[in-house]
């Protein structure tokens, strides 16, 4: 199995064996139940679809996610996967939805430079010129401007697994992880998914 779906609980800090302080994100991952197995014969590719979080009235789990797999033999529907598919010290990819920032200007959204705030300057946080005049006579596509920021899919690669707690389905990842507390994150291992 190549990954799990989890939920971000929050952040704290722990000491490692050498006494160094490490910032960690606590994630409740799994147990995930196999919802569907995709095979070469039937679907043209191999993958395992897993679900996370049971729903009260419906049979289908609240969140579904598909992971590519080299081998799908031996994996059946209803099988459960827990955090022990990962190992401490392993580096994985974590995907989530970033925190929405709403409408933001170019300074925050695209790291534009700011104008002088004093010394008689009237140019503070404006975007400046967005193109030439008659030629080309339009604004070029993809011009970075103000607008909605955040609330988009973000992936973080090479995130170190600091600790695993199989009993509580908890996993501690070094550093920050995309999304707010309680947000759904996908933990992914294996180069095929990376």
């Amino acid at each position: 199995m190549n990954g799990l779906i989890g939920r971000k609980i929050g952040m704290t800090q722990v000491y490692d064996k050498e006494g160094r302080l490490i910032p960690v994100t606590v994630i409740e991952a799994g147990p995930c139940v196999v919802n569907q197995v995709k095979t070469m014969e039937k679907d043209g590719y191999r993958a395992v679809q897993i679900g996370f979080m049971k729903q009260k009235k419906k049979e289908k789990p609240l969140h579904l996610k598909e992971f590519k797999a080299d081998k799908v033999e031996g994996i059946v529907k209803g099988q459960e996967f827990k955090v022990d598919i990962f190992a401490e010290g392993e580096r994985i990819k974590v995907s989530g939805t970033s925190i929405g920032k709403g409408t933001q200007g170019t300074v925050k959204r695209h790291h534009f430079h700011r104008g002088d705030m004093a010394h008689g300057s009237k140019f503070h946080r404006l975007p400046g010129s967005i193109g030439a005049g008659t030629t080309p006579g339009r604004v070029l596509k993809g011009m970075r401007m103000a607008g909605r920021m955040g609330n988009e899919a973000v992936s973080q690669k090479n995130v170190l697994i600091v600790k695993i707690d199989l009993e509580k389905n908890m996993i501690l990842l070094k550093g920050a992880v995309p999304g707010c507390d309680n947000a759904i994150v996908v933990l992914n291992k294996g180069k095929k998914n990376g």
């Binding site: 929050g10 704290t12 000491y15 006494g19 302080l21 409740e28």
Partner: protein, 118 residues
């Protein structure tokens, strides 16, 4: 559904069971682990505790200030760090502030003078 207690449990494990007793205003000697190549040894740092923060949590820290050749030096120690060993109270101090930032502005002997507690 959000299990915030899980964080508390993790932090509980990181905390020391026995915390040395000292307060702001006390003159203490803090022994912390220092690595020199392969060797480990405990180094002392003596000064006045000017700040304690973080309360009873696992992230609690304290700041020790001392004068080295007339220059103020402050070190922040995480209270629960395994690298921070014994905290020896040399002198109990009586102060009327929670944070002794006013010591930073003092020069000479006034910078280290604190009324002793009875």
């Amino acid at each position: 559904m959000l299990n915030k207690n899980a964080i508390k449990e993790i932090e509980q494990k990181e905390m020391k069971k026995e915390i040395p007793e000292f307060n702001v205003g006390d003159t203490v000697k803090v022994f912390s682990e220092i690595r020199e190549g392969d060797k480990k040894r405990m180094q002392g740092f003596e000064g006045i505790v000017i700040k304690r923060q973080g309360g009873t949590g696992s992230r609690a820290t304290f700041v020790v200030r001392r004068l080295v050749q007339g220059v103020g030096v402050e070190r922040t120690f995480p209270l629960h760090s395994p690298k921070v060993g014994q905290v020896k109270v040399m002198k109990k101090g009586r102060v009327r502030r929670a944070k002794l930032y006013y010591l930073r502005k003092r020069i000479g002997s006034a910078a280290t003078r604190i009324e002793e507690a009875k």
